[in-house]
């Protein structure tokens, strides 16, 4: 187990360096001068511009800039935004909100998706199965921003259950509806994955044996069918965490939640390279770590899988 984790951590290094280099190159190698943009319509003062360039290391060659950034990642010194705040402080405000939103989304999609998928898979071809498949197709097909508008319109403006604009310090209950919207598409995928794999496992030999041994149907269902069916679902949930946090760009915009998505989007539009790169780097790290955890979880779900 220890060896396996060590080997996986080593494999992460090239992926981490590659992904950050990719993002760094996209932000800093492409045309456009953020310093000139800072002056707006006013003429560029060469002295101030030079000083700013030096401050943000924009006068250094690309690879030096990248190495300085990597050093910053490990010393937690991610530089300042153009308005002078340390990027790490901006992150400290944005990430807790988005993490809460993502937790709501993951719980909703996992619980609902697995329960509905299980029921549909057990009666494959029945009316509940057809209905849930149709609903899942619909949820995937309707763009998330339309789902968001409609949810905001219905729950905030018609019913008045939530505030249309959530704002800076949201409670869990305020995040429920945005979380459901954020997790809706993934809910459809979880449902379909669970349904297919339950339908397949239901007729497997080990399930027939378990039934023949005289186990209670409830136990056969949870321990023998569901546990084996969860592997593809867990894989999907793992890769989805990063996607959800990034996908929050849209949901956070609609409900006015000042989380990672909103902050990142503003930073991209203002070409604030340091902030963009820092946020995306953290998202990449989260993605890599969650995937490692998912792989370790396989061994819990399927005793045949052993890591040495």
């Amino acid at each position: 187990m220890g060896w396996y984790i060590g080997r996986r951590l080593l494999q992460m290094i090239p992926v981490f360096i590659g992904a950050t280099l990719l993002i760094y190159a996209m932000v800093f190698l492409l045309p456009g001068d953020p310093i000139a943009a800072l002056f707006g319509d006013k003429p560029v003062n060469p002295g101030v511009a030079a000083q700013l360039r030096a401050q943000y290391h924009l006068d250094q060659p690309f690879i030096v800039q990248y190495l300085l950034f990597l050093k910053g990642v490990f010393t937690l010194d991610l530089g300042n935004t153009f308005s002078g705040q340390p990027v790490i402080d901006v992150m400290g405000r944005a990430f807790p909100i988005t993490i809460r939103l993502t937790v709501v989304a993951i719980i909703v999609e996992a619980v609902l998706g697995i329960v509905v998928g299980l029921l549909a898979g057990l009666r494959r071809g029945g009316w509940f199965d057809s209905l849930s498949l149709f609903v899942s197709l619909l949820v995937i097909a309707v763009p998330i921003f339309v789902i968001g508008f409609v949810a905001r319109y219905v729950f905030a403006e018609k019913l008045g259950w939530i505030k249309a604009s959530v704002g800076g310090d949201p409670t869990w209950s305020q995040l429920l509806i945005p979380g459901i919207v954020l997790g809706s598409v993934s809910f459809a995928y979880v449902l379909r994955l669970t349904r297919n794999s339950v339908a397949e496992n239901r007729t497997a030999d080990h399930v027939r044996t378990a039934t023949a041994k005289g186990l209670r149907p409830g136990r056969v269902l949870t321990v023998h069918v569901l546990r084996n069916s969860l592997i593809p679902v867990v894989t999907f949930l793992g890769t989805d965490v990063g996607g959800l946090m990034a996908g929050a760009v849209v949901t956070e915009g609609i409900f006015n939640i000042p989380g990672v998505g909103g902050t990142l989007y503003q930073a991209i539009i203002r070409t604030e390279g340091a902030t963009v790169v820092a946020f995306v780097t953290v998202l990449v790290i989260i993605y890599l770590v969650v995937n490692l955890l998912v792989d370790l979880l396989y061994a819990v779900l399927d005793p045949r899988i052993r890591y040495v």
């Binding site: 494999q11 090239p14 992926v15 981490f16 590659g18 992904a19 990719l22 993002i23 996209m26 932000v27 492409l30 045309p31 456009g32 197709l137 619909l138 995937i140 097909a141 309707v142 763009p143 998330i144 921003f145 339309v146 508008f149 319109y153 403006e157 297919n196 397949e200 990063g242 996607g243 946090m245 990034a246 996908g247 760009v249 849209v250 915009g253 990142l264 989007y265 991209i268 539009i269 070409t271 963009v276 995306v280 998202l283 990449v284 993605y287 890599l288």
Partner: protein
């Protein structure tokens, strides 16, 4: 029919010959041509109503995208401010946008951008991801290690996020550049599917047979492995066509997709959100058209998957 020697004490244990499975095997008519994986899939597909529904929808959408002028003679860019957010009336069945453009004409003309981006991205992703995945899966070793790590790098960056970052730094935004940007972050998924599929096919007996007959490794890969590994790739390609259309709309919605000079559903939905309360039909039609388009491609992918998967086949 008792020409089998029945030993004493075994009378009850030996089935009569006409009931043995061998008889059933002999009864199979092998004079008919063998049905291939694709022939069998097609026989399955023909019987599924969902298949025909999605095919008809997709054909309609493609025709609308190719020749929008067949369906409306109104200019989608023509603005009459007097009609701003106007209700539907004769000749303008869906009403007007905030700028007084005809919603019906814009919905019809918006199909092209979505379909072109969806098709272009899917073709690029399928070709690039397919080739990379096939090489990684078939040659293995160092090829697999290097190509899989490169795929991991692009896979670790979330699709829409990576696309926003790259596209804001681009000078020109056309359907081609938007497709290229989406493909750049989407090919690793296809490469993984193709690699897995090739790994499964690689060990089959017919592959060994082809090698034994003297075909080179490349010939075996191109003629025998790839055609037999394409099933899952085609399914994912069909589904991701829908996903790309939705992603393009998301980019346009965020204001970083296609410029407003190109009529697109995403851009129209984005513009309509300010008038959601007073004129919901302005949002409804482009959103509905987008959803139906995405739905038809995902549905097609779904039925094709069922048809290619022997375990899911309806008997």
């Amino acid at each position: 029919m008792s020409d089998i020697t029945v030993r004493p004490g075994q009378e009850h244990h030996v089935a009569p010959l006409e009931e043995t499975p061998l008889k059933a095997v002999d009864a199979v008519d092998d004079s008919a041509p063998p049905s291939s994986q694709w022939g069998e899939a097609w026989r399955q597909l023909r019987r599924r109503p969902l298949f025909w529904v999605s095919v008809v929808l997709i054909l309609m959408i493609v025709v609308v995208a190719a020749v929008p002028s067949l369906f409306t003679s109104t200019n989608p860019r023509f603005q009459t401010l007097a009609d701003s957010l106007g209700a539907p009336r004769d000749g303008h069945p869906f009403g007007f946008t905030r700028l007084g453009e005809d919603v019906y004409a814009r919905t019809i003309y918006g199909a092209r951008a979505s379909v072109v981006v969806g098709l272009l991205s899917t073709v690029i992703v399928t070709v690039v991801g397919g080739v990379v995945g096939a090489i990684a899966g078939y040659y293995g070793g160092i090829w697999d290690a290097v190509l899989s790590r490169i795929a991991d790098i692009f896979f670790a960056v979330p699709l829409v996020l990576g696309a926003i970052v790259l596209i804001t730094s681009l000078q020109s935004r056309t359907t081609l550049t938007v497709s290229l940007v989406l493909s750049l972050f989407a090919w690793p998924q296809m490469a993984r599917i193709m690699r897995g599929s090739v790994l499964q096919t690689r060990g089959a007996e017919f592959v060994t047979a082809a090698r034994a007959l003297g075909l080179s490794r490349l010939q075996v890969l191109v003629r025998h492995v790839v055609p037999n590994a394409l099933g899952p790739v085609i399914v994912i390609a069909t589904i991701s066509l829908g996903i790309f259309i939705a992603a393009e709309a998301t980019l346009s919605y965020l204001g970083v997709g296609l410029p407003s000079s190109i009529v697109s559903w995403g851009g129209d939905i984005s513009a309509a959100q300010t008038s959601l309360r007073s004129a919901p039909q302005v949002l409804f039609w482009p959103a509905g058209a987008l959803s139906v388009t995405v739905l038809s491609f995902i549905m097609l992918g779904d039925v094709v998957r069922d048809a290619l998967d022997p375990k899911a086949r309806t008997r």
